[in-house]
Symmetry: C3
Subunit: 348 residues, 3 copies
Amino acid sequence: MSFTLSQINDRLGGTLKGDGQARVQSVRSLDEAGPGDICVVWQADALHAASRCDATCIVTLENAGFEHENVIEVADPRLALAEILILIHSIKRAEFGVEPGAHIAADVVCNEVYVAAGARIATGVQLGRRVEVHANAVIGAGVKVGEGSIIHANATLCPGVQVGRRVVIHSNAVIGSDGFGYQSSDGSHRKIPQVGTVVIEDDVEIGAGTTIDRATLSRTIIRRGTKIDNLVQIAHNCDIGEDCVIVAQAGIAGSTTVGAGSIIGAQAGVADHVVVGRRVRVGAKSGVADNIPEGDWIGSPALPAVRARRALNLIGRLPEIYEELRSLRKTCSALEEKLDQAVMNDTE
Amino acid sequence: MSFTLSQINDRLGGTLKGDGQARVQSVRSLDEAGPGDICVVWQADALHAASRCDATCIVTLENAGFEHENVIEVADPRLALAEILILIHSIKRAEFGVEPGAHIAADVVCNEVYVAAGARIATGVQLGRRVEVHANAVIGAGVKVGEGSIIHANATLCPGVQVGRRVVIHSNAVIGSDGFGYQSSDGSHRKIPQVGTVVIEDDVEIGAGTTIDRATLSRTIIRRGTKIDNLVQIAHNCDIGEDCVIVAQAGIAGSTTVGAGSIIGAQAGVADHVVVGRRVRVGAKSGVADNIPEGDWIGSPALPAVRARRALNLIGRLPEIYEELRSLRKTCSALEEKLDQAVMNDTE
Amino acid sequence: MSFTLSQINDRLGGTLKGDGQARVQSVRSLDEAGPGDICVVWQADALHAASRCDATCIVTLENAGFEHENVIEVADPRLALAEILILIHSIKRAEFGVEPGAHIAADVVCNEVYVAAGARIATGVQLGRRVEVHANAVIGAGVKVGEGSIIHANATLCPGVQVGRRVVIHSNAVIGSDGFGYQSSDGSHRKIPQVGTVVIEDDVEIGAGTTIDRATLSRTIIRRGTKIDNLVQIAHNCDIGEDCVIVAQAGIAGSTTVGAGSIIGAQAGVADHVVVGRRVRVGAKSGVADNIPEGDWIGSPALPAVRARRALNLIGRLPEIYEELRSLRKTCSALEEKLDQAVMNDTE
């Protein structure tokens, strides 16, 4: 599938200098590109390299004064790169079919789906049209996977989990393992059965190695459109709102609610039973222990971002602050003495 | 399997108002419950919803003044929920049998065990009675798994690892991969063979995606009753005591010992060759670099909790502290000048 | 395979007291060792136990005054342990062969390789000589794996990934899942196709559960000799230099470059688009948000280590600092008053 430069320029809303009928079929980096490719360039040194590149078209910043056979100038080349990738490179889909070596329970209907060798589909599973289950993925008993969803190699959907449409679950993610709940007494811990489930709504993406635990009762829910990166932990009973972004290695503890449109940064942690509001942004590595209704938060314990930035920068100046304090103490003592002396002289 | 309300009330030590012979067979959340179900409620707004719920019985706080067909009043509803779940919902067990598509070495005896399709049991493995090995789990050569243990889908037990009785290992956990040991010289790193193993004692639970490395020599050991959450890293040669709790995404570096009954919070880290005492509690996100014999610890570097709470809260006030310091410096300078002036006037 | 004590002593450059022709074939811990074993001991209490050990040889610190049938004294016993392990215990290799139950595409040539039951090798894959693919590992379409590399059980190499020679990839690692890239507008997030790949160069080791994302364009690269621990996240477009060490649970965000020979500590994080220089060391749990050309860095935000150690230690003294400040303020006020009084008296 290829596109004319005019089609691409129309999508980007840029300025095309060159042949609008020339066609490209892929975006590539400068060092890999050749005829039929389009490159996007925004750094000065890259522009230099771009002038020697055989790509059919170079997309760059407006007024860059860059010359090439075909150039599209845009206001924001980074955004343009995303747009072109989305336009040209639709997500690759596997062809329908069940490979030999797939382990599929007798009651599972597999119409218009792809199931790879080694994948295991247990009893009672329902797969929507155009679902893909890749090699060695495990779909537990009674799981439902909605139309167009992709379960990548070695991912695990535990029994009873519900997955919506157009969901992508990456390799080695685990959806629906037991929540971490124990009844402790006299120092030992009895397992509390986790009889709830996990619901993943439409258009969610879940990264490689991420774990989402089933609820004690009811359900852990990841709402429509939310994107979760790799190695994230979502504990039991969490409710993650629509269109959230949760970056790699972040962790959300049990029964916590995250409002729609919020962003949880990499390696951040949110404590249990916390309510995070809508469109809240939590910085990387931050630790949220209390409810945060709105705004940007940084640090551990997390503070409003403006205050936190000033406070965290001052940590590095603590040695000077401490020195200054000691010096002031001396100054004060000297002053005190001098004053006492002065007063004494005065009264003499 | 169902229980009378009298049986449940006896277990809870509560006060039953209603029909002691009425029967329930599951605990559910308010929005899902109907006849035959029991609900546990402790928040005011939930109590309101509970009054319209068809559940056979509502468990709630004593003196809540709540009216329903059958009510059990207890001192601690959260605790009651755990008790009822443990009473009613025993952990679901798979039926014995080896599914077609399991890859089992010829010398492995599989009596009274469950082995799912795609599971791989290598040569020399010994499985105790009532062991479950779920789909696509891998049990390496020479591994021993004790009676009643459950190895979930896609988990990996590397060769030679020893697992006790009633252990639960969740999906995608890796037990016994090589410890991270290199001999570095001239800037390059030669791998040190890791010839030890991992021993998991009875009644341990290990979360999804958690990794526990084999020892360089001898063994990494997780002692009886310890519960480990998801995505935890336990490095080679660690000795984790009995009945510990290690929360999600925590990491314990090599050769570190954690005493019995200790709790390591989420995303906390303990450095290598450290000794953590018994019943120590390390807060979420804390960093422990030195031995801590007892008590509660918070922060990175970790401090005793009482001090740490005060110290960490003051980080947020560093901007004010800094301003105060500057203002004091000015005050002092002004005082100094004023005093000099006064003394000078005096001597004139 | 066994070694004479003379051979071992030659390798260690130590002093052998005993029978140079005695032979040993394994290193063991004191409590497991017997005839034919060699032990390495450096702690005082261990030396005491060693005197009662049947091991053929004890390696210990020079001038330890330790007596045993055969003793090798060395300057650095820890180093000696590594050396002996490397000498005696070469990494165990599987025998060539393809086990029944492996799922191998028709076009894949499997000469002199090991492929375990349940492993899946997709179309277009090229495996070098002496490659091992363990149980239930998944090798996606078009992947190349160089000579002598080992892919452990349940690991996933996504389509198109390139792996060099003598690489070790541990269980449940995921190489080449999609980078975390979205085009966000009006609060919703459109997936940006990730059409690049991952290149793992020779002699790299990648820990259990670690995730390395494919590039948006071009490639994420892990260069020769770098060692990565468990549960590490490497985001798309990263360039990790030669001979780096990245410790467990660290995370490197997108498009970041790490120079050769650098060490990233456990649970540390490096932000996106950052340049970390050569031989930089980042402490455990540190957070790097800006370029760091050289040196040792600690803390979050990361500071040069010397400064950071003083600064971080002062966090624990913030309560005293705060008290001191309040007390100084009082002292100053008292002085001010006293001085005013003195001046007033003077002028009266």
